[in-house]
Assembly symmetry: D2
Homo-oligomer: 418 residues x 4
Amino acid sequence: MSDSDALLARFDEVRAHTERLAAPLSPEDQTVQSMPDVSPTKWHRAHVTWFFETFLLAEADPGFTPFQDQYWFLFNSYYEGVGPRYQRAMRGAITRPGAHDVGLYRRHVDDRVTDLLARVDEGTLDKVRPVLELGFHHEQQHQELLLMDIKHVLSLNPLRPVYAGSPADPGVPDRLRWVSFEGGLVEIGHEGPGAGFSYDNELPRHASYVGPYRLADRLVTNGEWLAFLADGGYHRHELWLSDGWSRVQAEGWEAPLYWTRADDGSWLEHTLHGTHPVDPAAPVCHVSHYEADAYATWAGKRLPTEAEWEHAATVSGAVEPAVNALHPRAAGPATGGLRQMLGDCWEWTGSAYLPYPGFRPAEGAIGEYNGKFMSGQMVLRGGCALTPPGHTRATYRNFYPPGARWPVTGVRLADDAR
Amino acid sequence: MSDSDALLARFDEVRAHTERLAAPLSPEDQTVQSMPDVSPTKWHRAHVTWFFETFLLAEADPGFTPFQDQYWFLFNSYYEGVGPRYQRAMRGAITRPGAHDVGLYRRHVDDRVTDLLARVDEGTLDKVRPVLELGFHHEQQHQELLLMDIKHVLSLNPLRPVYAGSPADPGVPDRLRWVSFEGGLVEIGHEGPGAGFSYDNELPRHASYVGPYRLADRLVTNGEWLAFLADGGYHRHELWLSDGWSRVQAEGWEAPLYWTRADDGSWLEHTLHGTHPVDPAAPVCHVSHYEADAYATWAGKRLPTEAEWEHAATVSGAVEPAVNALHPRAAGPATGGLRQMLGDCWEWTGSAYLPYPGFRPAEGAIGEYNGKFMSGQMVLRGGCALTPPGHTRATYRNFYPPGARWPVTGVRLADDAR
Amino acid sequence: MSDSDALLARFDEVRAHTERLAAPLSPEDQTVQSMPDVSPTKWHRAHVTWFFETFLLAEADPGFTPFQDQYWFLFNSYYEGVGPRYQRAMRGAITRPGAHDVGLYRRHVDDRVTDLLARVDEGTLDKVRPVLELGFHHEQQHQELLLMDIKHVLSLNPLRPVYAGSPADPGVPDRLRWVSFEGGLVEIGHEGPGAGFSYDNELPRHASYVGPYRLADRLVTNGEWLAFLADGGYHRHELWLSDGWSRVQAEGWEAPLYWTRADDGSWLEHTLHGTHPVDPAAPVCHVSHYEADAYATWAGKRLPTEAEWEHAATVSGAVEPAVNALHPRAAGPATGGLRQMLGDCWEWTGSAYLPYPGFRPAEGAIGEYNGKFMSGQMVLRGGCALTPPGHTRATYRNFYPPGARWPVTGVRLADDAR
Amino acid sequence: MSDSDALLARFDEVRAHTERLAAPLSPEDQTVQSMPDVSPTKWHRAHVTWFFETFLLAEADPGFTPFQDQYWFLFNSYYEGVGPRYQRAMRGAITRPGAHDVGLYRRHVDDRVTDLLARVDEGTLDKVRPVLELGFHHEQQHQELLLMDIKHVLSLNPLRPVYAGSPADPGVPDRLRWVSFEGGLVEIGHEGPGAGFSYDNELPRHASYVGPYRLADRLVTNGEWLAFLADGGYHRHELWLSDGWSRVQAEGWEAPLYWTRADDGSWLEHTLHGTHPVDPAAPVCHVSHYEADAYATWAGKRLPTEAEWEHAATVSGAVEPAVNALHPRAAGPATGGLRQMLGDCWEWTGSAYLPYPGFRPAEGAIGEYNGKFMSGQMVLRGGCALTPPGHTRATYRNFYPPGARWPVTGVRLADDAR
């Protein structure tokens, strides 16, 4: 298979996956923005298309004309360099183009990209390959967001709607074990283009000093979180960061987002499979950094730094779960090594999202992808159950503000080793 | 035709009209709430159905069971007496039931009402007739709201979508004339059940003293409003009520809602027919009470009181426009009497919305329809182009907060007569 | 005594009274603005001085120069016509001029006014007399505000500070009686210049039709309000206007402003005399229009209209209390007529604050005194315990937004008579 | 001098310095809170006193009774462990105790501490010494805050008040030079109790890897900032972090806080000496982290990390300015080494404020001093002109949210070395 054929096959696969994710959703489902952080499904479908149209077709397609002028304005997310954009918090006010018309837009751009790749010469191919690859990864990120966002949308509906499927059988709780690491002057960060795709924020690879430490071999479970609740975790100021305590009080947090009480006092959890009893063996998810930190304080431990996490993941190996699921599952049997490192919950670290030493943003509007968000956010590692297969890696730096709860976020404990 | 047949025919007609209004709207269009005051189309369709289900079927249908339990919660608007309700500002977060499922709900309730009316005895008929009639008028009010709301939704879309149809040809401006009234101790208010349907807020008929006055024979036109703009109307504090001036500055008002400037500096207006040049002969609409008052001050005149308006409408007759339109049209030729009294624009009066002397709210939850809103709002009279035929009358008291601009509101000048 | 001597004597008396009211307050007390509606004591002292400087001296004093240029900016309240002004909500950020320096400003303007009046000719005197008189009444209004505002400031201090004096002995509760009025086509409004001073909003005198009605002979008492509380008054939506119910819930109202619970569950009230047990015989005060309306609904009655109130006050006479107090006192013995009409609590009416028929605002910046506030407010009548002697009259129209609770506001019930 | 005598002498000195700083301020000046971040002068004076009363006297004075019960509530800042506290944003609503009464409170506590130290035994002295020392440093921090806060208060007054003194003569601009450091695996953090006082957040000393780097030998000047302005610095999104750009637009930033334009277009700066022309040679101050970062991006450089800063300060020495000033001054002549490291402006670093590896908060309520604020803030180093003499050190970690502008904050550039 030629290089351009391979790219096209990858393109088709990524693009089709987005449409598969949207398929269970009605036009109404695809339209709503339930809070400013959330985007409508049809906006995601259109925005990832806009990305290819703007950064690939407009640059490399000689006969390019935009599919629809105003789409450039409507489906730009935050690229100031590309021009003005429709304000984020109002994405849910846009009823047209509807879900069907967004499909037409997608097909149009797919056709143009297919045409382009069919007749591209080597030189152009070298030029467009990085943009295409970035577009694949960009679309995969939005696949994850699409699911997290629709989960929030559906959570507001008292009819308790189901996105798809049904929940896994309850898991078997097992005790948490610790895995130790010597640390020292370690290298973290992506090794660069030769080692496969990465975002600019994973670069450059660099030295970092890490003392001896140990990590929990699995994520904190719902059962453990229930013990935190039972011990007054959400009512004891001394466990919380000051900003976290303010949020607890201002927003009345009593449990993870999506937990509600059944009439008998037990806890239910809204999931993409509908609303079901909380499984004590499954990892807790939809907790903010504030909650993760308070839990760690309560447990007499702390969160890992991103250097610790990445070093451990690299040293001890970290593999994606075999089963692709819509909700994180209980850890498999203990192995002596680390479990649930990739593809279960995004794991809050104790590291602020800042540039690596020597970081340089990519050139042009694409340079707005990461660097300008390096303020006020915390790093998360490992991917989650909603992350599309193949989109996780040990060097991946995800980031959210410390109060975010709608992403699929969980907690792995860390500790100093003596 | 028997009494129950007549009621059923009226029921069918009202219900069918709602569905005709929704027909041009996609599921996505029907889902969005563009601001807290606006409700989604499918919510309107469901809420008016809930009204018949709650106040008619649940009371009078022996075999009644709710169509869907949670609908009672989702589609209650503000009736505290009926139980808790979904918060108003979040109506746009509800994707399911979708537009199609709301249709099924409507059909189910329509069938049950039809069944009920088919086999109803005289005694029950007397009991349900007032509820049915209130339900008709309630649904008509929501027909008007449905159009005003979708107009706002579509206005936020830079694609400039069209609801239906195309604009009327520009009218012929003519000069404003005055019609004088002697006033005195006049009677206003509805005459009660014998005189046809009314809301409780139009009762009781009562005496009110009105000095000699005169009214403009037609509404203020866009052309006249352009003169107000040209004379700095939106920039001269001395023309404005203090609250109005604060709003002008806080929200940057420069013209009526829905007016935007074309590239050549001329004014365009968003309508249900799409975006078109402002017609100088048509009445200005989508202005707040603050703007109406400032304009009147600028013109050296004032707004009519509701007693003046109603007395004049009664004395001189007021007829609905022959043509049903989606946008107010230029006044017809001068007649010596009052023009454009009904069915063009809701006309701001200088009267606060307060209970008439001797007012008593209706019994039960239906008593929440009007009385509890008698605070902080101004009375408007006359109906507008979006009001369904047969829903206007001289005694009708509409009301909005003085800053509201999304209803179809216009201005008729008044003056003291000497 | 010559005319100018009489004016000067009145000037001296009004000016001295302000300083007497400020005397018990420390420089710190005089500086604070506890919420946007409240102004600092020293601002009141300076603003009323600015009024004489701007509208009297700057107009009529040939050698006029401003005392301090920036004072024009700092101490303008809301007169847009006079130029820009320091934003109202930030009055409490201004530490200088301090209380002492404001005293110097006052003395300077007092001296200039004294000089002016000493050598004024007849023609000028005729010109300045209306401004002086308006200035007297303006300063008296601010005397009342000064006390209401400092009461709010001191209420936020957990040390429970005292402004002055000590509370009256508890009164003797007596039952409420009704006084009936025939109504008809009555005249209300001030009779104009010949009949003494009035604000422009009391003009012109005009006819108004009033049906037969009756008024409570005294204000609602704290004891009656306690019965309202005990009957769930603050928790029953059906008693409340919709806007009122929203405020109750948003701000957690459970009782009148300034009521707090003692450890034994009894109610205490913050007053200018400090914090003391609520006196069941004294009139309830510091209730909003929403609360007044809910109470009246609960009692099966209503609030009077302003025409009813004024007509009754005129017909039956209304006198100020003999004792000048800092807190409203229990009504004296029943008389068969109306009690507590003037000088106890500002009485909420059911009338919105709107222009009288034929109202014309005064010319120039002074015309901003009243007219531009005729939106979104309710009329109150009768004056309160903090109103300076001589400042009340039957035609006086006070006004506040329906949610205001920091003025000394109370409730008189009304009812239709049959 | 005995150990307790030495402590007492230090106590007297610190306490007297606070009162010297407050001396030029009127009671009115001392009362106002101009925004939630600012505290009134008299609150600072009382709060530092409360600290000694709560953490020293209440623990160690056998006959302890509180000076005034409610003061515990009023003057607690954020110590949840000590009990409820008066809400921060309302500190400016408290008029009593006034400035004079706070003086009495101070004297009372001073007397009790003096008594305690006069008769303290060795064992107790060992126990109270750390609390006293923390109290000294705590009061010094508030001395700096007192000046920064009153600077903000006075800035809102259009009369342009002066706190004290007059500005230095304009400095002589000189070019910026770079000082290089090899970096490597360096140690940072305080060496612990044996090495003098530190806060818990400076502990423990630990290894950190730092690549080769260079630092600007002086702070960025006003002159350089004017070049940034002239080059559109506040209008070019590509220079800014996303959160920073939002703030620029939401708050209309056009220049550092306290800069205003004179009528001739030149820039003036509000200082504690009054309002004066900006000195191009003096360091820019009152810029947020967002502005510091944008400037560094514009200059093609970056901010130093806190490890880089501390390593450089330790390696190359860093001394406080000889002259104690109320405003940062132009750098002295170039030395080949680093200038302006201590006591000019707090220097924004690129490091988020997070716990050092192995950090443990102090025991008890005093443990709330630092640890709970380790979220959402950036580290600043070096002290500023308002920092009291002796309160700076190379390991000191100050912290503010990235949008803060009212502290005396400046910018030192850093760069990678090759």
